[in-house]
Subunit: 157 residues, 2 copies
DNA sequence: TTGTTAATGGAAACCATTTTCATTAAGGAG
DNA sequence: CTCCTTAATGAAAATGGTTTCCATTAACAA
């Protein structure tokens, strides 16, 4: 029977063990928030959501934890050009929900899309292989983003 | 016969006229430096290169001018994740030298590549059309970047 | 040449993120 | 369970690229 304050039951529990990281309340709080939230949260967004339930987790820890999670590949750090990093859960254990982003340069609206994703992923894989070989890079990651005006913003002009 | 201090003869002269922008010494200095430099310069890089010849052009003007040039489409603003914007001339009048970037996450080395660019551009064009229609976006721009470790950095580990 | 006003430079402000450092607590050893 | 090592933390201060402010200058149309 689980104790009241029982931690370490999340699907991510094992992820920390192997890497020598400690499983702390702050880290769980952040993963918890990320897995329950839609969208692309900034460090401060996350802080605001974590704070009511864990008032003793500071913004610094949010930054540090996001960095760790990002290095572990559990969280993706995103840049939409609005001068603050944004984060989303990379993948649940369920499997892929790989997507790319479409960004409005005016109101900063962001659309997750998976259309064309298969063609994109295939081309990316080929390109990665080719570039890696030609330039001796060990490629680990890629970005594809489209920028433009959403319908509201393009009407406004 | 051109006077000694004759300005306004660059290929970009006309670009300003139509848009109500004034052709100033600072703007010419920056375009001049960008067209003579290889690579991806930060605002401060540009300031350093402009300063010896135009000591009265301030860093603020560099930022403002890069913003204007970027809006005019004459300069591309780049982000390689090293916490400072970088800039490169978008296109001379000669035509396309469209390329994408391969970035080492360790030493920040950046490779311009054009390999696979035709396949990439074709897929991008299709995707842009599809996404634009589906999500009612007027897409103006895209980013593709690959991240990884260059051979030196991956040997170092 | 003159007048309008866009453009400018220097200093100060901004603000997301990082660093510092004293304190706390995760988790392995015993 | 208790101890111990040291990773992790919070608060406050520092950092540093970029933006804002404002008085002054100069591009260029009339
Ligand atoms: Mn997303
Ligand atoms: Mn380039
Ligand atoms: Zn918009
Ligand atoms: Zn490298």
């Amino acid at each position: 029977m689980p104790r009241g304050n029982c931690r370490g039951q999340g699907w991510w529990h094992g992820k920390f063990q192997g890497c020598g990281y400690r499983l702390t309340a702050g880290r769980e709080a952040i993963l918890d928030i990320l897995s329950k939230s839609e969208g692309h949260l900034s460090a401060e967004d996350i802080y605001m959501k974590v704070h009511p339930k864990y008032p003793n987790v500071g913004l610094t820890t949010i930054y540090r934890t996001l960095d760790v999670l990002s290095n572990l590949g559990m969280v993706s750090k995103l840049d939409f050009g609005d001068r603050r990093a944004r984060y989303e859960l990379a993948e649940g254990p369920k499997g892929a929900h790989h997507h790319h982003h479409l960004v409005c340069t005016d109101c900063n609206k962001v659309v997750d899309y998976t259309d064309f994703i298969d063609d994109e992923v295939e081309l990316l894989r080929e390109t990665e292989k080719g570039l890696g070989a030609k330039y001796n890079f060990k490629i680990t990651n890629h970005i594809i983003q489209f920028y433009g005006l959403c319908n509201k913003c393009s009407a406004k002009k």
